[in-house]
């Protein structure tokens, strides 16, 4: 009792800090850390989902197999094409949309809600809606034919390699652009108005204000959005799954997560699927670290 009484205020704060953090740490340990460790352990075994025999330890053979497998490298390629094709436009356009919405005096809330609404839909529902749109007789072909003045042209949204990749990117872009726009809006709102006013007084026009005041001060939000959107893209699954179930060719959109699912559920090969999960985890970890490194290279901005 005396010891507690004698503790400094910082110590007391730290104790309460631990008290509040422990539930989330426990949650992370049970639902994230343990599955990661378990997946790594499983990846070292030849293990089939239905096999009642004890799994056979094979060391890193699953990793060795994957690194030599053209299928796995195709999945890596499909994942990177999708990620680059989606997260860069998402970061750029969500920032532009956020600036656009913040500059509006009217319909501010309406725009926020309108852009955010697709994010509320489940990925499966979103993909199902877009499947109807991409049907050869659907809205996508009709719109393109009207816009480009073509008659009865089938743009093969779900058929050719390039188009099916573009279609998955469009679905994801549509679904998540609003979500990241809201995050940017929060970031923009946290920049003190006095800084913009000071810049205007010093003669800065709108572009200079955006480039020299808004963008540098928005750097933490931009880093957050780019990391979150990149991770989200690397984990993409539902759109590709539903598209391939509906007749789209698998190879161009066989992203790593889809390959993991098929290896585990269709082929029952949980050992190899776990190895793929660990590699994906490594990729995500590496690119997150890389983004942090790159973002820190310019130093912190403060006015």
């Amino acid at each position: 009792m005396r010891r507690i009484f004698n503790m400094g205020i910082e110590h007391k704060k730290a104790r309460w800090g631990w008290f509040f953090v422990i539930p989330s740490l426990a949650f992370f340990a049970v639902f994230s850390f343990y599955p990661i460790m378990n997946a790594f352990y499983t990846s070292l075994f030849r293990k089939r989902l239905l096999d009642l025999r004890p799994p056979k330890f094979i060391g890193f053979a699953n990793y060795e197999y994957l690194l030599k497998s053209p299928d796995f490298w195709n999945s890596v390629k499909a994942t990177f094409i999708f990620t680059l094709g989606t997260f860069i436009p998402i970061v750029v356009f969500s920032l532009l949309l956020a600036v656009f919405i913040m500059s509006r005096r009217r319909f501010h809330k309406f725009f926020q809600m309108a852009y955010y609404s697709p994010a509320v839909l489940s990925s499966v529902v979103a993909a199902a809606i877009w499947l109807l749109i991409f049907d050869p007789r659907g809205l996508a072909n009709t719109t393109m034919n009207t816009l480009l003045g073509t008659v009865g042209k089938d743009y093969k949204w779900l058929a050719t390699s390039g188009m099916v990749r573009l279609s998955t990117i469009l679905v994801y872009f549509w679904k998540y652009i609003g979500y990241f726009t809201i995050i940017f809006i929060t970031g923009l709102a946290s920049i003190p108005q006095s800084l913009h006013e000071a810049a205007r007084i010093d003669g800065a026009n709108g572009w200079k204000d955006f480039w020299h005041i808004t963008l540098p001060l928005l750097k933490p939000t931009t880093v957050l959005v780019s990391i979150m959107s990149m991770l989200q893209c690397l984990k993409t699954f539902s759109t590709q799954y539903l598209f391939t179930q509906s007749g789209a060719p698998t190879e161009p959109i066989n992203v790593i997560t889809l390959n993991i699912y098929n290896t585990a559920i269709r082929d029952h090969n949980i050992g190899r699927a776990s190895a793929m999960s660990i590699i994906l985890f490594g990729i995500m970890l590496f690119f997150t670290w890389l983004q942090f490194r790159v973002s820190k290279s310019g130093g912190e901005v403060d006015y």
């Binding site: 989902l49 089938d154 179930q245 007749g247 789209a248 698998t250």
Partner: protein
């Protein structure tokens, strides 16, 4: 007074615990089929009346979802007591010891010979493993061609005479039936059932003498010429060829029932008739559809109709013996209503009794289906059949949609299927 109350309470508690201790709860997981549900729910009620200590819980999901649920439940050693799925997916459960052999006595048979003698020869072969039978068939299904007579007449054809007998004719007839707006097809003459490559596409290869796997099961892709002809045919069928259909259009079988002038023919089983009756009774009563045999290639070296597949009821081997015994009793009770299954669901439980019955003989187009079934062989099944099917899908899609040459697609298919065969352990 208090003593009496305690005594009464003790007796009540004891009898309740005895009741619960003797209750057998059976989990029965199956795929959704709106026509089967009321029938099987009635069977459950009747069975529970016959065996008051049994509680049966029937769980349904879509046919693709139920496979995942059953697999993950078994992986966690929490599988249901009774389940069914197609034999291509079910075989892995037998091979891995996850299901129990039929309890002949509980199922109402003297022994295995008695059981085999009750069914159409060959229909229990897929579940005959190491001298035991591991499942009882809910349905044995083969596919023929369902044809909309109105669409034929609209294109100036006589359905009774002009229906396609060969795959070459199928292409020509489909061309006549197809309506397009530019490149976009608004009415297909015929289209394949794309996810089912082992059931409905392999016969095309086999008609020309090709095989998926050698007889010893060690070599993938036999007879390149047959495979190349097949892949060329599919490329010609697709949007980059004669543009007659594609996997990206809504599946033909679902559209057929609506009779909306958007599909002329589709591949399907007898069960489709019950679904037409349920979905569109007017179309069913109009008699404006007919069933014709599965086409053959003009230069076919083998007569191969669509492969038949079976949905077999299986019982979880990890459940207690009393559950297994009761599960087989219940399965047998359901299957003893084969004529009702035919009349209400249009599925064939291949018992000799049903096949010889007037109900079966008088059922519309049962003669066409049974004629093809007699010439048909069971679909390819192994522990890796789902993967192999997806590899054939990739090959067909690549020639139809991505413009890959048949030779390149075949070489890739061979490499991948061979890898699967080599990897089986």
């Amino acid at each position: 007074m208090n003593r009496r109350l305690v005594l009464v309470l003790l007796i009540v508690l004891l009898s309740l615990s005895l009741v619960f201790a003797n209750t057998i709860e059976l989990e029965f997981w199956t795929h959704e089929d709106p026509n089967r549900t009321p029938l099987e729910e009635r069977f459950i009620e009747e069975f529970q009346e016959m065996y008051p200590n049994v509680v049966i819980k029937r769980v349904t999901q879509s046919s693709s979802k139920i496979q995942e649920l059953i697999l993950t439940a078994f992986a966690a050693n929490q599988g249901p007591d009774i389940f069914n799925m197609s034999i291509e997916d079910e075989f892995a459960y037998i091979a891995n010891g996850r299901v129990a052999p039929v309890d002949y006595e509980a199922a109402g048979y003297k022994d295995m010979e008695d059981l085999l003698a009750s069914y159409l020869p060959g229909t229990l072969d897929p579940v005959d493993y190491e001298g035991e039978i591991y499942g009882l068939p809910l349905e044995i299904t083969n596919w023929c061609i369902l044809l909309n007579k109105k669409v034929f007449r609209d294109a100036g054809l006589d359905p009774e005479i002009d229906y396609p007998k060969t795959w070459e004719e199928m292409m020509e007839v489909s061309e006549k039936l197809t309506i397009r707006e530019g490149e976009i097809i608004t009415r297909r003459g015929f289209d394949f059932r794309y996810p089912y490559y082992l059931v409905a596409f392999m016969p095309l290869v086999e008609q020309m003498g090709g095989k998926l796997v050698s007889d010893d099961g060690k070599t993938a892709i036999i007879n390149d010429e047959a495979w190349l002809n097949f892949l060329d045919y599919m490329a010609a069928w697709g949007p980059n060829g004669r543009n007659l259909g594609s996997p990206t259009y809504k599946n033909a079988r679902s559209l057929f029932n609506m009779d909306n002038n958007d599909i002329g023919m589709c591949t399907t089983g007898l069960y489709q008739l019950a679904r037409i009756k349920a979905d569109n009774p007017e179309f069913y009563d109009s008699g404006e559809f007919m069933v014709v045999p599965f086409p053959q290639f003009e230069d076919a070296v083998n007569y191969v109709p669509a492969h038949y597949y079976g949905h077999y009821y299986m019982v979880n081997s990890q459940k207690p013996k009393e559950n297994q015994e009761m599960a087989w009793k219940f399965v047998s009770y359901m299957l003893s209503h084969a004529e009702e299954y035919l009349e209400k669901v249009a599925i064939i439980i291949p018992t000799n009794e049903l096949l010889e019955s007037e109900t079966f003989k008088n059922y519309p187009y049962s003669d066409v289906f049974i004629s093809d079934l007699e010439k048909s062989t069971v679909v390819y099944f192994s522990e890796s059949s789902a993967k192999i099917q997806s590899l054939i899908k990739e090959a067909v899609e690549s020639v139809m949609l991505s413009g890959t040459s048949s030779r390149d697609a075949l070489d890739t298919l061979r490499r991948k299927v061979q890898e699967v065969l080599d990897d089986q352990y």
